[in-house]
């Protein structure tokens, strides 16, 4: 795996807080990405860069196109136009499994734990380059047993860190919603990604688990990984993100540090409507 160049959260201080601003060391660059569903333009992103080694939040009101944008970046959906690259490698037309192999691994808004597999099997599935996953070699267990043992060891270590180790032999379906979120994130780490894309990691997670999830996300940064996450929980965004990108109606309307973004007039309008301070009854009389 490539060693991170620098873990420098202070990039936030030197980067211009404008939509589409250039970063000093971008890992992900997207250009003129548009996705239409019939007449509706769900995503229309002019330019976006994500700083390597940062935790970047992608926020925006419901229907802003955040998840669609995620799907486009990770190959689960194809844009009508635009180009984007990861680590300098163009990703146009690259299928999802290859995107994951390149080091960009995602999770899903609606958790995709593999229910009728045990927790440890869920984890082991994430490991890359498994000899025993080839159809021919699967028949000869001595060819993959040693590797499988290593994988299980790594899985056990991550599960211990995520406090899921007592559950390792349970079916994933037996976990609570929050534990499934943890499992999905832990499983993504088995792929040894350079960049982790988390789609609403906190949705439906109780406060105690939330705190531990937050710590795990911060750990990722410490390990030099890049995190891009979609989230509605503003406290969380404030607490852990170095940089915030705001989407509304498919476009990026603001970028900046959490503090600067939350004071931004455009962002407040996007969330609450442009006329949120006006008296509704006065409007009705006018109409």
């Amino acid at each position: 795996m490539q060693k991170p160049k620098s873990i420098d959260a202070s990039f936030a201080l030197t980067t211009s807080p404008t939509p589409g601003s250039a970063k000093s060391d971008p890992i992900l660059v997207a250009d003129k990405i548009a996705r239409q569903f019939g007449g509706l333009t769900a995503v229309n992103v002019d330019h976006l860069e994500v700083q390597r080694g940062s935790i970047t939040a992608l926020i925006g009101p419901n229907g802003a196109g955040k998840t669609t944008f995620f799907n486009l970046l990770t190959g689960y959906d194809t844009p009508n136009s635009g180009t984007w690259s990861f680590n300098g490698r163009a990703l146009n037309g690259i299928p999802p499994h290859k995107v994951a192999r390149l080091g960009m691994v995602r999770t899903f808004q609606l958790t995709k734990a593999l229910y009728r597999l045990t927790v440890i099997e869920n984890m082991a599935l994430g490991a890359r380059g498994q000899k025993g996953e080839s159809v021919l070699r699967s028949v000869f267990p001595w060819m993959w047993r040693a590797q499988e043992a290593e994988i299980r060891e790594r899985a056990t270590a991550i599960l211990t860190n995520f406090k899921l180790i007592e559950k390792q032999d349970d079916f994933a379906a037996a976990l609570s919603g929050g534990q499934r979120k943890l499992l999905e994130m832990a499983r993504a780490l088995m792929v040894e990604p350079e960049m982790v894309m988390l789609d609403e990691p906190m949705a439906g997670v109780n406060p105690a688990l939330k705190q531990s999830l937050l710590e795990h996300i911060k750990e990722l940064r410490t390990e030099g990984k890049t995190v891009l996450f979609v989230e509605h929980d503003m406290d969380m965004v404030h607490e852990i993100s170095d940089w915030v990108i705001v989407m509304a109606q498919g476009e990026i309307i603001a970028e900046g540090t959490p503090a600067s973004v939350m004071g931004n007039q455009q962002v407040i309008e996007a969330y609450l409507g442009a006329h949120h301070n006006e008296d509704l009854s006065a409007n009705q009389e006018g109409a």
């Binding site: 299928p95 593999l114 599935l125 699967s138």
Partner: protein, 331 residues
């Protein structure tokens, strides 16, 4: 009533040729449906291709039987590719529609007048295409004991057939417990999650379709050889659904369930039939209730009732894990 005869008929069927055929068909389906979640409703097509592939080359083209087996495997791989290439990228239901249609197309082509010269039309092919196989039969006479009875040819088919089933089951057991099998089961649960972990789901589904299809076509080999004849209408959709019945009886996603399911299936069918037949002919069952000609229909009705009871009281099948099934309902 001749209870010994009933026992002999029933036990002979339980480990007989038909059980082998249905076990092979269901092992293939278990790969597709039980482990990978692929709804293949065209397993009869694979059996038909297997059966015709051993009969046609030998009878119509004079090719040795051993090469015909290889042709059969090759053809079923091609058939799996034909089904899989257009459908495996789509949602699961499309595969179900395409496979059920494709199997019917195979049957209709086989019985069409156009290819009468080679495939025998609706009469199929009858002839000694298995003579190379039966020439190896070491048994000069059949088996005739109070509880088991096979003629010499059937005895040879039963012994080789069960050896084949055992070998395939053993290999399947290793494969589904390997990391490869883990990817398959994961695909059954959620393809998109598997993609997000860097696995080429399309490739794995294709492998599943090919492997399950080839095993099914071996069921077709046994079907054709044991009867020394191939009839197109034996390979209708009913065959596919009986194979599913066998699989569900045993419990999907368990290695031994197709084998045990097939044994139970044929045990019940023959047992019910023999009891009814003996009962009617010996006036134990009154004629106004069941006539002799109704026995073969009524056995399927009773079979259906039994299946319903199974689904209500033991929905996971004989071997299935109830906890696992309950999880499925939650998901």
């Amino acid at each position: 009533m001749d209870f010994l005869f009933i026992a002999q008929q029933t036990l002979s069927a339980t480990i007989g040729v038909n059980t082998i055929i249905f076990a092979l068909a269901a092992i293939g389906l278990n790969m597709h449906f039980g482990y990978t979640g692929l709804l293949n409703f065209g397993q009869a097509g694979f059996l038909a291709i297997g059966a015709y592939s051993v009969a046609v080359p030998v009878i119509s083209f004079g090719i040795p039987l051993w090469i015909a087996f290889l042709i059969g495997i090759f053809n079923s791989v091609i058939f799996a590719l034909l089904l899989g290439v257009p459908t495996l990228k789509l949602r699961a239901d499309y595969l179900a529609i395409v496979t059920i249609a494709a199997a019917e197309i195979v049957r209709q082509i086989a019985r069409s007048a156009t290819f009468n010269e080679w495939l025998g039309g609706s009469d199929g092919i009858t002839g000694k295409f298995g003579k190379d196989f039966f020439a190896l039969n070491p048994f000069k006479s059949g088996l005739d004991t109070p509880i088991l009875r096979f003629n010499a040819n059937d005895l040879w088919v039963v012994i080789t057939g069960w050896s084949l089933v055992a070998a395939i089951t053993f290999v399947m057991w290793i494969m589904v417990n390997s990391p490869w099998g883990r990817v398959m089961r994961a695909i059954r649960e959620d393809e998109d999650a598997v993609r997000s972990l860097g696995k080429n789901v399309y490739l794995y589904k294709m492998q599943s379709l090919i492997i399950g299809g080839v095993i099914g076509s071996m069921g077709g080999f046994v079907y054709a050889l044991s009867r020394q004849s191939v009839q197109p209408d034996n390979y209708g959709t009913a065959l596919t659904f009986f194979a599913y019945t066998v699989l569900i009886l045993g419990g999907a996603a368990r290695v031994f369930s197709p084998v045990v399911g097939a044994m139970i299936f044929w045990f019940l069918i023959v047992f019910i039939e023999q009891v009814l037949r003996q009962g009617v002919t010996n006036n134990v069952i009154p004629h106004w209730l069941i006539g002799v000609n109704q026995v073969s229909q009524i056995r399927f009705m009773l079979m259906g009732l039994g299946l319903m009871a199974l689904m209500i009281f033991r929905p996971q099948g004989i071997f299935g894990d109830k906890k696992e099934l309950a999880l499925d309902a939650k998901a």
